[in-house]
């Protein structure tokens, strides 16, 4: 009888802990979803033997504080680095970055010729139309998981001869 009561209490306690942690997790996710919004994440389609791929997106920071993108995790790559292409005279310099700054109530646009995430030594190069899960880790303790699509970096649109990224 005593054992049965003990088991019941233990089960109740376990369920309560589980419930609270799930609620906390949901709260955390919702919190993140509104504080940081990622728009249009994409990987540039590349040759089958490409040693490095570019990952681009727009990161919106809806908080009142500056935040930093510290790291990015994508499975299937030997190394992932944060980079910025800097133009100095005629030289195009690819400069490795410790972090990417996203200003309070502002955004950072990762695009060709500017900020980008470099996916190095892919196990296999994705094809156009494939999608890949990306984990972004920020300095405010938040992280964000998004699905990026593989597509061409540049294309001609309609008859207007305009270019788009």
């Amino acid at each position: 009888m005593f054992n049965k009561t003990k088991k019941l209490i233990l089960t109740f306690t376990m369920l309560t802990i589980l419930n609270v942690s799930t609620a906390m997790e949901n709260h955390h996710t919702n919190h993140t979803a509104t504080e940081i919004v990622i728009n249009d994440p994409w990987v540039r389609s590349a040759p089958p033997n490409a040693p490095a791929l570019g990952l681009f997106m727009q990161i919106n920071n809806n908080t009142n504080h500056d935040i930093k993108l510290l790291s990015v995790n994508v499975s299937g790559y030997k190394r992932i680095e944060l980079h910025k292409t800097v133009v100095q005279g005629d030289m195009m310099k690819m400069v490795k970055q410790e972090f990417m700054p996203i200003p309070a109530k502002g955004k950072l646009h990762l695009k060709p010729g500017s900020w980008h995430i470099m996916l190095i030594s892919p196990e296999s190069v994705l094809r156009k139309g494939d999608t890949v899960m990306i984990d972004l880790v920020f300095d405010n303790g938040l992280s964000k998981t998004v699905r990026a699509q593989v597509r061409n970096g540049k294309k001609m649109t309609g008859n207007h001869h305009s270019m788009m990224y």
Binding site: R44, A50, P51, A52, V87, E98
Partner: protein, 226 residues
């Protein structure tokens, strides 16, 4: 008498030469004013150095490969995730645009690697033909590539990052430190696209970033007025 005659011929030849080069430069000066996104780099007195490299089909590629045809040329490295793929795509769009316009002369697409140690002919073939089946990649001896890029005003430097994140910049004639081929390195570089004339000379240059549609206007104009 003979000396006087020779002097006379010499003076006339000099006047003709001055007139020819002045009018030539004048023509190109007028042409230069009409260009939207390119610069005339033509210097008939300054040719390319003699070079002998290897194309992506393992054939010899030397000065003769630039003769008798127009060529669009760029310098790249395949470990580049941003600037080089963009430039290659631009070259391909430029070529397609000229074809769609029905022009008589569409230049060949050639790309020479800054980084032959990693970009072998077979690596270049797989990499470049993804962007356009008509690309011809060129690899070969690093020292010859270093000589060849000089008259183009092209330049590169390799950047090796230490484990603590500290970058070391190596000029193109400095050897790579041990293990750098395996651990990897980046290359800072110029990213112009060049138009070579059928005499195998540099004729015009397009600085980055490129707008291939406007570039096509200039290429048409440059070829028409050559």
């Amino acid at each position: 008498m003979n000396n006087k005659l020779l002097s006379g011929i010499g003076v006339v030849a000099l006047i003709i030469a001055i007139f020819y080069f002045t009018s030539l430069n004048k023509n190109y000066q007028d042409l230069a004013k009409q260009l939207k996104v390119s610069y005339i780099l033509h210097n008939p007195n300054k040719g390319l150095p003699f070079f002998s490299l290897i194309d992506h089909n393992n054939n010899k590629f030397d000065n003769n490969n630039f003769k008798g045809k127009w060529t669009l040329l760029s310098f790249i490295y395949t470990h580049c995730p941003d600037v080089c793929p963009t430039g290659l795509m631009d070259m391909s769009i430029l070529k397609s645009t000229l074809i769609k316009r029905g022009v008589n002369i569409v230049p060949n697409l050639v790309t020479i690697t800054f980084d032959p140690a990693r970009d072998t002919p077979s690596v270049l073939k797989t990499y470049l033909t993804f962007f356009d089946k008509d690309f011809l990649g060129v690899s070969g001896d690093q020292v010859q590539i270093n000589q060849l890029i000089k008259p183009f005003g092209a330049y590169y430097e390799r950047v090796v990052y230490a484990k603590n994140g500290k970058p070391t910049v190596l000029k193109n004639d400095e050897p790579l430190p041990e293990g750098a081929l395996k651990s990897g390195y980046l290359i800072n570089h110029t990213a112009w696209i060049y138009l070579l004339n059928p005499d195998g000379q540099i004729f015009a240059g397009f600085p980055a970033p490129h707008d291939p549609i406007t570039m096509a206007d200039d290429v048409e104009l440059l070829i028409k007025n050559y």
